[in-house]
């Protein structure tokens, strides 16, 4: 008897096709289909500080957002521009120190020093990484891996910027509400802004750089220049997270260059699903509370992230959000062939 072979067929849901154009607003069902996932995220994040009672878990929500920002920055660089950054800690470190300096030395208030530090830090990171941008391959990953180690070593050796003691007495936010909502709104802005950006012309060039840099070059577009722009955008996000952290802990020190800031966003992106942007945020929503629960294991947490990373890469390399989006937009059925 011949073996019956089956194959899974995937088809777009009708409602998905109907919501692709302006007619999406014609009925409440279709509008809900479009808005529900977005609203769940936005409302959920905005309500989180209101619903959570304990100050400790409120703090965890802000840390989730910080790692969400870092994850966004990694996901954007890796899956839309093709540059794998193994050193997210470079951006957090530079941003944190820049913000602490702007606050302490220049006397700027929090609401000026964070944006200033993000942009200045973005420029610094871009300049630092500029030498490896004209090249393909593993150079970018290697150099980003080295910078956080080297910079913290330099600060230690020259005893500059407070040396091993760091810069204490950075101005805080003055209350849990400002603390939570600044980072939540920053995360939402960056998330939806980046989603918009990667579908603009600029995003098209970025994806061209990733998939076929020869074609980009043949179109008379400088690959290096656009890579530099992308690195600037990504490291500005990272520096924003770092600057926020410096004000949150009212202290900027060598721990801003810690390995956690490099590896957790990568793990979050891989778990959440690379190339979706939202995946990085969802991933950090899963990983950060989990690692808070595992706090007593100390540095073993990094080993734990590494295991999760390896598992996801081998078993389910698409990540959660890619899977969820597929289930949401398509239905599957078995067909005989």
């Amino acid at each position: 008897m011949a073996e019956v072979q089956r194959r899974k067929e995937r088809l777009d849901r009708g409602i998905k096709v109907r919501t692709e154009s302006i007619y999406a607003i014609s009925s409440w069902e279709e509008a809900t289909y479009l808005l529900a996932p977005r609203l769940i995220l936005v409302v959920g994040l905005l309500l989180a500080p209101l619903l959570i009672e304990s100050p400790y878990w409120k703090r965890v929500v802000t840390v989730v957002c910080v790692y969400g920002l870092l994850g966004l920055s990694f996901d954007f660089l890796a899956h839309f521009v093709g540059l794998v950054s193994l050193g997210g800690a470079l951006a957090t470190g530079v941003g944190g120190y820049a913000s602490a300096l702007a606050n302490k030395a220049l006397g700027l208030p929090v609401f000026l020093s964070i944006p200033l530090a993000s942009i200045a830090g973005g420029i610094v990171c871009t300049v630092l990484l500029l030498p490896c941008l004209p090249l393909r391959g593993v150079y970018f990953a290697i150099v980003t891996l080295m910078y956080p180690l080297v910079l913290s070593r330099l600060i230690e050796a020259f005893n500059i910027l407070g040396g091993t003691d760091g810069i204490p007495g950075v101005q805080g936010f003055g209350g849990p509400w400002a603390e939570s909502y600044i980072i939540i709104s920053a995360l939402l802005l960056c998330l939806f802004g980046l989603r918009r950006l990667v579908n603009e012309d600029l995003g098209l060039i970025f994806r061209g750089v990733k998939d076929n840099d020869q074609a980009v070059k043949a179109s008379g577009i400088s690959v290096t220049r656009y890579k530099a722009i992308a690195v600037f955008i990504a490291s500005t996000l990272g520096c924003l997270a770092g600057a926020y952290l410096a004000h949150l802990y009212m202290w900027a020190g060598l721990s801003l260059f810690a390995l956690d800031f490099s590896i957790l966003p990568i793990a979050a992106t891989v778990i959440g699903g690379g190339g979706t942007l939202i995946g990085a945020v969802v991933g950090s929503m899963i990983l950060v509370p989990l690692s808070e629960l595992l706090r007593e294991f100390g540095t073993l947490r990094i080993a734990f992230y590494a295991i999760v990373l390896m598992g996801f890469i081998v078993v389910r390399s698409e990540g959660l959000m890619v899977w969820a989006q597929r289930k949401y937009h398509q239905f599957e059925r078995w067909v005989q062939i």
Binding site: L135, M146, V150, A157, V270, T299, A303
Partner: protein, 288 residues
């Protein structure tokens, strides 16, 4: 004179650290970010063999090299093979593997001064009035032996020739019946075993600490980039350049700057000659 002798010793140590990495990358274009982890793991395994299991020096060293080589092969065969050809995942997967080994070892309590490997033959001699212990002499000897051995292996054995074939033109080599995946497995195993040899020779000079794992990875990568990724002659030459630069900075400035020297060497190379000293044929591929 002191600078010359210690410069040579330091350069050969760098070459020992880097050869495994450049071997794997040169043959299968696979950046093995777990290299530093294998180095420290080898040191730890040898320590366990000698101190906890009392197996004697020779037995435990040989077992360690064998085990780490086997682990490298297993890592490729069961893990990295699944992400082959996807550069982003290759980097992340091997880095995750290395992180896991290093951080698990740190959790096992691998820090401080408690873990040291014994030197093979204690004592010092005076070369041109410079005190030099036998272990450092041994480093140079083994380094030279490995470079020579690798050269002979790749020129005159069937397996070595097959590895070079895959390195030069994968498609043509596959048409001649060389299995690309098998060769990559062999290469990863060899590279890991080389990391283990380097660890056993070099670690008696210091303590087995987790931070050294990251440092070894960085030095190895710096040497490979300056020499041209995948070029062995370039790697040896580059390790002499970086090795002497490091010894000079250590003797005139502080020892903190060793890593900075490595980074500066990478950046300068990327700006001036991105393909490295000996990477002529790959130049077009790597520059956009």
């Amino acid at each position: 004179m002191e600078i010359l002798i210690y410069g040579i010793v330091n350069s050969v140590s760098l070459a020992l650290m880097a050869l495994g990495f450049t071997l794997v990358y040169g043959i299968s274009r696979l950046p093995n970010f777990a290299h530093g982890a294998f180095y420290i793991l080898a040191g730890y395994l040898a320590w366990v063999g000698i101190r906890s299991l009392d197996m004697g020096y020779i037995v435990s060293v040989l077992l360690t090299i064998f085990a780490v080589g086997l682990l490298g092969m297993a890592m490729y065969r069961f893990f990295l093979i699944r992400v082959r050809g996807m550069p982003i995942s290759e980097i992340i997967a091997s880095y995750a593997m290395g992180l896991f080994i290093l951080e698990a070892l740190r959790w096992k309590g691998l820090k401080g001064m408690t873990f040291t490997l014994p030197v093979i033959y204690p004592g010092t001699i005076f070369l041109f009035d410079v005190p030099l212990d036998y272990q450092r002499l041994l480093v140079v000897a083994i380094g030279a032996a490995i470079v020579a051995g690798l050269w002979l292996f790749t020129k005159f054995t069937r397996l070595g020739l097959a590895l070079r074939g895959i390195a030069q033109d994968e498609q043509a080599a596959m048409m001649l019946g060389i299995d690309s995946d098998a060769m990559a497995t062999v290469a990863t195993g060899l590279g890991s075993a080389l990391a283990a040899v380097a660890a056993i020779v070099l670690l008696p000079l210091g303590n087995i600490v987790v931070e050294a794992g990251y440092q070894v990875l960085i030095f190895a990568v710096a040497v490979c980039i300056v020499g041209g990724l995948g070029s062995w002659a370039g790697a040896v030459l580059a390790s002499f350049i970086i090795g002497f630069a490091q010894i000079l900075t250590v003797s005139y400035m502080q020892s903190h700057f060793q890593v900075v020297v490595a980074l500066l060497a990478i950046i300068l190379t990327l700006i001036l000659k991105p393909s490295g000293l000996f990477g002529r044929q790959k130049q077009l591929e790597e520059r956009v």
